[in-house]
Symmetry: D2
Amino acid sequence: MDGLRERLKRFGADRDWGKFHKPKDLAVSVSIEAAELLELFQWLPDDGPIDEDLKANIANEAADVLMYLVLLCDKSGIDLIAAANAKIDRNEERFPIETSRGVAKPRKGI
Amino acid sequence: MDGLRERLKRFGADRDWGKFHKPKDLAVSVSIEAAELLELFQWLPDDGPIDEDLKANIANEAADVLMYLVLLCDKSGIDLIAAANAKIDRNEERFPIETSRGVAKPRKGI
Amino acid sequence: MDGLRERLKRFGADRDWGKFHKPKDLAVSVSIEAAELLELFQWLPDDGPIDEDLKANIANEAADVLMYLVLLCDKSGIDLIAAANAKIDRNEERFPIETSRGVAKPRKGI
Amino acid sequence: MDGLRERLKRFGADRDWGKFHKPKDLAVSVSIEAAELLELFQWLPDDGPIDEDLKANIANEAADVLMYLVLLCDKSGIDLIAAANAKIDRNEERFPIETSRGVAKPRKGI
């Protein structure tokens, strides 16, 4: 992840595009790319197979979401992996195994 | 990233929630969380500061986006970091430094 | 629709909130509200029933999407209903009944 | 709006595409089209002008959002215009003019 972040920053710096990367615009871009990822599943059944074409497209769009997310976190001084681990820590407290298992997944439980 | 993925899978397995994690629903969830991230910037100016409160909220929502993205890639047999590196490889070819530098950022250039 | 638009404009003007309604921020708001609408279906099966609670929630979130859409179109000098009719005109040309019927729905066909 | 809804239903029925229009997939489609609308503003400044090209593109994408929204409401037994008016009724109560005017727009105030 550290290597990816440094590579992305150098990519933008080399092209003088870093100036476009304001946090709000990066958040806009995460949403746009997330919708392109979702579009791959538009009209498909819930439980359809992931064939090689779909897999390649998911990889491509998921990469775009991740890249903007990494740039946004970098601009905001956030360690993304640490943030995710901290969120799982909180979720482990909010949803103890004993009372969560076998219960319908709550809307907000990862 | 590997550690995060394994932790997320164990979290779901422990609560028997993995059965909810169909690829389409995970893609839906990435979009929903991306919008919650974007909501943090709603009505804010383009170039506003990131104070400590906003930073904590960004970390929290960016974590949610990442977690669903990791689960989707895991379900789809995709190595997310490798996919992002492959995308940067392609972008380096599409947008050579010599012809891209100092030029307006294209819509599709990360 | 005309009555709705005028009511929305007056609502904003009465509270001096119209100044927040820049086109880009209204487009951001349409996306955020669309995701709240989508969230109502998160983890639900494709073909689940619409009970009274879900129906009330859909009405509530669909209203938010429409309101920002109407404000965005008003700011941009667009007649939303006319735009939708013009789009159907184009779709009728792109997807003639004779060649479209009984064929898998194309990704881009409404 | 009634004419638009009937035209959309006939368009789908003529092509036998109505069977694709499950509520969840229509909500997914509203989100996807909302992101395409947002993409028109990606990297643009907050307060940029709406030129004729941008206006035509906004009209086109706003039409897509509206069309899926109308179909979703139709499938769910919801009168979209009435839902929006009911929402404004509630917002008028939540945000009285006297206490709202001149105050920063709240996140959730249309």
